[in-house]
Point group: C2
Chain length 151, copies 2
Amino acid sequence: MEGHDKAYLKAALAEAKKGLQTGGIPIGSVLVHQGDIIGRGHNKRVQQQSVTLHGEMDALENAGRQPATVYRHSVLYTTLSPCPMCTGAILLYGIPKVVIGENTNFMGAEEHLRANGVEVVVVNDAECIRMMQDFIKSEPHLWHEDIGEEN
Amino acid sequence: MEGHDKAYLKAALAEAKKGLQTGGIPIGSVLVHQGDIIGRGHNKRVQQQSVTLHGEMDALENAGRQPATVYRHSVLYTTLSPCPMCTGAILLYGIPKVVIGENTNFMGAEEHLRANGVEVVVVNDAECIRMMQDFIKSEPHLWHEDIGEEN
């Protein structure tokens, strides 16, 4: 991971912490276009009762309506491996690179990203891992609510 | 297509028309759980400047927080073939069946759905086809804004 990647991942982590502080699931993301953060977001399942605003989706949403060319020259930084929905959004908008804080607590659709030509960098950052691990341990029901075993 | 499928597709079409009437992109969806429509939605790109609320996503959002078991016994009806993002959402939530109004104006990630075990029914309904065709002809820039050729 390069130095600038580290700084952007830190911004994604700051979003995740904001999510935790507001009672939510600590997953955060930033969308970076040619060096500028154009969208920041975190999971809003608890705060807005949203089933679509994962961290990555919230960052895209907050970046607003962008022309295709912006997405195609952007990098998405996210604290946790992207789920199939967020993976689909990355593919829809043609974002060519994703930097992932960790994939030990949850393995998303990284292979599907790679199979579609997206550059995937997995950092397995200690702070991202610990934050998610602590959350899942303290809120197992919330973590498994939507896509866990049938409940 | 069975008779009840037709009625639910009509509800999705009604959502698409609502989208058109409010100045938006005419794509609509409904989520049906054991015979009940639990979420209705339409594309909100224009109305809410949203890049994540496609018709399918809006229907999921409006259905609210559901446990895994509800999604796994639901059917999604949508007027247009689902893009990669909406396809990912269907896979994330384990929705087992999707009924698609048409795929002649836009071919989504249907193969990816099928490859992951989702039952996909394509109706190619004349009214869905004409509505989308008319829209793309009258608003080509809006249609191609986000994922068209670089602009």
